[in-house]
Point group: C2
Chain length 126, copies 2
Amino acid sequence: MVTKRLSGSTDDANLRLADSLAREIFSDVANKWALLIIEALGEGTLRFSELRGRVDGISHKMLTQNLRMLERNGLAERTVHPTVPPRVEYTLTEAGHGLRATVDGMCEWTYRYFRHIESARQRFES
Amino acid sequence: MVTKRLSGSTDDANLRLADSLAREIFSDVANKWALLIIEALGEGTLRFSELRGRVDGISHKMLTQNLRMLERNGLAERTVHPTVPPRVEYTLTEAGHGLRATVDGMCEWTYRYFRHIESARQRFES
DNA sequence: CTGCATCCTAGCAGATACTG
DNA sequence: CAGTATCTGCTAGGATGCAG
């Protein structure tokens, strides 16, 4: 049962991720495109086409797909302006911003260990 | 050029991720299995079979594949004890621990917004 | 026990085209 | 402009077998 673990006696984050719903959420969110979209939305509200421009290399399909997923999980909010042509804007919810903070951490990490990783790779070829 | 952005004038993490090597690192690392392995190794050194037990649902193949990747990028270290049967242990490097800190953040985030996400999903079905 | 290679399949993800 | 659907290729990832 879900609530059992929530009020549970363990503080082990990994153990808790054994919970199937938590793992499902984690799997949804722990993928490249989702994280890059969240990072992009961290700067503020963006429309669909703007997002496409910011998240380099993402396809139309992957963008909509991941946006639906983020909306479904309550991480992003979708507001449609009934104009013509339609204008659809996406913004992070509170939960979304919470996650963005950790994604920021990952980005910073990437740059902190950039050279370290670069040389580790060279060492690895041998 | 890589170093241009490293010493560059922008503080925008997302912009910097436009750099191809940074994106490659990010893509390597921003996947479910890699993050779960790192989280598991956060507790300390583990052998291959122990890891398989901790990272629930991972296959033999995905585990070796991701471990090679982590090793290649200098996030995990592999030490072989030349016994029989062989005993291979994996441990996080400093860079690995750095990343683990942010993964911990993601795990905590998952549990903080667990109920929030649960209800967001119910709202979404309509 | 660990690692690598092989085969094989489901589902991911791109391209395209069509609606509102 | 935004979203959906279809078609298709391709690769991620499981299962298995073998070697060290």
